[in-house]
Subunit: 138 residues, 2 copies
């Protein structure tokens, strides 16, 4: 994947701010454009949906994201965002469509961004609220 990435290159010396990176990452979930989602993640990403086990590294994270749902459509609405250095905190409403049914999930997420790539991503939400909306029929 690395060679294909169009993400900011640390060797170029100039990156969008951590806040800008996270906003672009959230915007990439509209669609979703999973290639664009994944290009914002560092190879050493630690991705943790807090109610579940954390995933370590880009391979595990990409494998999860490409099969999660799977989401026919998705859109993240960023309600609030604030940054402090490398850390960006978000409050969002994530919308995901699975087998024609829209799941609406209130989420807060923490991101650590270094050299223009997300290195840590932790999402906080109520897992039961997600599962209650997930379509049970095939």
């Amino acid at each position: 994947m690395t060679a294909e990435r169009a993400a900011p290159d640390p060797s170029k010396g100039s990156h969008p701010t951590p806040r800008e990176c996270v906003l672009a990452f959230c915007a990439a979930w509209s669609g979703p454009d999973l290639d664009e989602v994944i290009r914002w993640l560092g190879y050493d990403i630690v991705y943790h949906n807090m109610p579940m086990a954390p995933l370590h590294g880009i391979a595990a994270t990409e494998a999860y994201l490409r099969t999660a749902g799977p989401f026919e459509r998705s859109h993240w609405e960023v309600l609030n965002i604030a940054a402090d250095g490398e850390i960006v905190l978000t409050e969002r409403i994530d919308r995901m469509t699975v087998r024609g049914r829209e799941i609406v999930l209130p989420v807060m997420g923490t991101f650590r961004v270094r050299d223009g790539l997300i290195r840590e991503w932790r999402d906080y939400f109520d897992l039961a609220a997600y599962r209650a909306q997930y379509p049970q029929d095939a």
Copy 2:
């Protein structure tokens, strides 16, 4: 309650910043010092534990907080905090002791602070993670 409050008085014209207010509020949970916790909340507070129904106003919020748990001890560890104007976003580990058993809960919370008082408070967490740790015996 209003007359008893030692919280910052808008008429005095000078308040701690929203970030400072939220840090003081989080610190008041050490103990907990519920009088101090409550004095940081505005009369018009909307308090929403996202997995549950929102509470409107200081009376409903105070009644809930004074009976929640009840917590023999508590401590909030602020992992990350970032502010943007009136909005303060936090990532925390909340620890609460109920009947001798410590509950450890990863939480993110959004606060809106105006005139030195918290007007909106939304906590995002996995309700099942809380309930699984809550002591079942009397």
